[in-house]
């Protein structure tokens, strides 16, 4: 995980350097057509990478040294439990369909939005509670 932190930090630094060059270029060569969007966009791209780098850094300090940071590490050391992943679920499909109707409703007419909400509410509840009810409830 240490190398992931380094990778995302360096990518953030890259965007800070780019935004400095962009600002310098804009002020010196195109002063009459100066625009701030690129500067904002590039600086926030740097934040985008540092956001992930910062989180990985904080997580790394709480965990044992990761096998991928050990130069003598082997592939099999990384095997194990990575967390819970749903093996099979229909809810995302229903939820996505209702979301499509909701957005279509905003563009086309609010009656479609109402149908989307009618499907979306049970889909959202079904999806979030799928592994917290029935045989999963304890």
């Amino acid at each position: 995980m240490r190398y992931s932190v380094k990778l995302f930090t360096v990518l953030g630094v890259f965007f800070v350097v780019m935004s400095a060059i962009y600002t310098f270029w804009g002020l010196n060569y195109l002063p009459d057509r100066f625009e701030p969007v690129g500067i904002v966009g590039l600086l926030l791209s740097a934040l985008f990478f540092w956001f992930i780098a910062g989180y990985l850094h904080v997580t790394e300090r709480r965990l044992d040294p990761a096998p991928e940071d050990d130069p003598r590490g082997n592939i099999e050391q990384i095997q194990g439990d990575f967390g819970f992943f749903s093996p099979h679920s229909w809810w995302p499909l229903v939820l996505a369909f209702s979301a499509a109707l909701l957005f279509l409703g905003v563009a086309m007419g609010w009656w479609i939005f109402a149908i989307g909400a009618f499907i979306g509410v049970p889909a959202l509840i079904g999806w979030t509670f799928e592994y917290f009810k029935g045989q999963h409830a304890n």
Binding site: E35, P36, G41, L44, F48, I52, F85, T128, F129, F132
Partner: protein, 192 residues
């Protein structure tokens, strides 16, 4: 894994709001006269109080997270003994503060529409409602997430690790939305 995925998604959300900030600054640079005409209509004092409510809700949320991490889901004392509150009580309080913020936003919109600032009145109106509106939708989404997370706590007799993780990542989202609002507040109300 849930926490890492949430953080990567929130980073992408940051880029979504980056686009809105970029739009705001472009329009601000190109039609400054619209800002001069519309900015005085903003009620900065009201917005400051509303911002305070949202920031405080993040504090309540974090107190709830610490209770969730300690595995304490419900209160162990009376309703007013807030030192003995569990994750549920703090999340309900966060929910109430978040709802007050949204109500304040709606009140402010009504006030501005009355003054003639609408989504289609001019560029200022468009970006004002797009930026604050998308943020408002995010806060509303967070409120729905709080309801679902609270609902989940009632599905098991013992508070499980999966439930605590859900509560923690919802707080990540809530803090993120809070920080985005501070940036929006500073841009729209303070810098104008």
């Amino acid at each position: 894994m849930v926490a890492v995925g949430t953080m990567v998604w929130l980073a992408s959300e940051l880029m979504f709001f980056a686009a809105l900030f970029a739009m705001y600054f472009t329009l601000r640079a190109n039609v400054p006269e619209q800002w001069a005409a519309n900015s005085p209509l903003l009620d900065v004092r009201f917005a400051t109080i509303n911002t305070g409510i949202l920031v405080i809700s993040s504090v309540w949320c974090q107190l709830g997270v610490w209770k969730a991490e300690a595995g304490q889901v419900g209160r162990t004392g009376g309703l007013l003994e807030f030192k003995k509150w569990g994750m549920r009580e703090w999340y309900v309080l966060t929910y109430i503060f978040g709802s007050i913020f949204i109500a304040g936003q709606v009140y402010e919109y009504a006030h501005l529409v009355h003054e003639g600032v609408t989504l289609s009145s001019d560029s200022y109106g468009s970006i004002f409602y797009l930026a604050t509106g998308f943020h408002g939708i995010h806060v509303t989404g967070g409120l729905i997430a709080f309801l679902l997370i609270l609902g989940r706590t009632f599905t098991t007799r013992r508070y499980t690790h999966a439930q605590a993780t859900g509560a923690v990542v919802t707080s990540y989202y809530w803090h993120f939305v809070d920080v985005v609002w501070i940036a929006l507040f500073f841009t729209i109300y303070v810098l104008q």
